[in-house]
Amino acid sequence: MDPVITSVLVPTLCVGGCGLASAVALGIADKFLSVPEDPRVQAVLAALPGANCGGCGFAGCADYASAIVLHGAEASLCAPAGSAGAAAIAQVMGQAPGAAAERKVALVLCCGDETEAVRRAHYNGITDCAAAHATAGGDKACAYGCLGYGSCARVCPVNAVRVEKGIAAIDKEACIACGKCVKVCPRKLVKLVPASAQIHVLCSSKDKGPAVKKVCGTGCIGCHMCAKKAGDAIVMDGSLAVVDYAKELKDTEIIAKCPGHCIRKA
């Protein structure tokens, strides 16, 4: 045979043959060895947002989808998908859509910014709230207040947290309530609250009134005023007023009346 033709034909056949053999092997393997996957897993996965934020407690959307289908996990755990997503998943799973879970947002229960709260030391260690908290209880004079080193901002998958004037603030619109900031805060200041709630007590200090006043201009001094006015929507936890979000709280009068200036709209 013509050497030119051979020198083209042999490599072509060689690589083509390799490719064909691999393709056949893969085809056979796929046919006989493939693990049958529930088609609903793909359908549920399509209904999830695919952000892999891990807010549901599973290792990403794919893991959550298979947990729903194979292990009967709750369909309403995905905060970014919201109630529409939960309904879509319920439809795939052939269930009646459950009561739409109310949208929640994360809220930092501290309003002692740098103009109000006293810092008792100058901290120049690692820029991390847990590290600052571990260093002699933090540089903030208030043992309950936001340290403002932005650990919550760094874990937020949607960049909804900003540190402004020395305390963290969460953008209500952007928050997907994944709960990462709740977990990371060393002082347990971040709480998931209903997005519809308007009035909050932005303080977490359990210290008594005089002690609070010494370290912060906007702390709850435990005067019971709001608890008396708002009925059972605000309960006292020792000397700290706590909003019970299960009850309706409409009385905006208490905002102006609060002597600690820590009841605010948010």
């Binding site: 042999v10 490599p11 390799c18 691999s22 092997a25 893969l26 060895l33 693990v35 690692i126």
Partner: protein
């Protein structure tokens, strides 16, 4: 002794990542966390060793007899390694689900990894026999894993440190990689 030297040389002296600069993409890409680095290392060790065996067979029984090893080596090796990884993926999913759960997501990432291909090509260039090829590839993979795990450990700590702002993130990681590579230069001359 010869095998011991080959083994040590592939791990430390001619470390794939830090001396030969192969497999840099996973070195920088999956070294942010120790757990992912461990998974990736396991997958690379697995694939590299098997790929070395298969490519040796292809080279010896197909390419050399046909006189094609000069210019078809890279092409056919990529083809074979890529299909091999897919095949391993399918087989693993069926017969070893726990192993698949641990390594599964890293397997597609290394189908055409330059370290895997590099090990195969270096084997052929040095004229290693079958056993030596497999041993070399395994040692090279251990070297890759060593570099990746050291780097992941460093990066986890750098994450907590406070470098100048302009160096934050990838910049300080690249500098660290360079320093690590310099450190491995210390091994040169240990084995000829």
């Amino acid at each position: 002794m010869e095998y011991v030297i080959l083994f040590v040389s592939a791990i430390l002296v001619n470390n794939f990542v830090l001396s030969r600069f192969l497999g840099i993409c996973p070195f920088l890409g999956v070294s942010k966390r120790m757990s992912t680095a461990l998974g990736m290392s396991g997958a690379v060790m697995f694939v590299m060793t098997i790929a070395a065996a298969v490519t040796w067979l292809i080279q010896t029984f197909l390419l050399v007899p046909l006189g094609l090893d000069g210019f078809l080596q890279t092409l056919s090796f990529i083809l074979v390694i890529a299909s091999l990884v897919q095949l391993i993926d399918i087989v693993m999913k069926r017969f070893a689900p726990p192993l698949h759960a641990a390594l599964g997501i890293y397997l597609p990432l290394i189908t055409t990894n330059c370290a895997v291909l590099g090990a195969a090509v270096i084997n052929m260039k040095s004229g290693h026999g079958f056993f030596k090829s497999v041993l070399f590839a395994f040692a090279a993979a251990i070297g890759f894993a060593l570099a990746l795990l050291i780097f992941a450990g460093l990066r986890e700590r750098i994450e907590r440190a406070d470098p100048p702002r302009c160096f934050k993130g990838v910049a300080i990681s690249l500098i660290t990689a360079g320093l690590l590579s310099l450190a491995f230069m210390g091994f040169s001359g240990l084995v000829k």
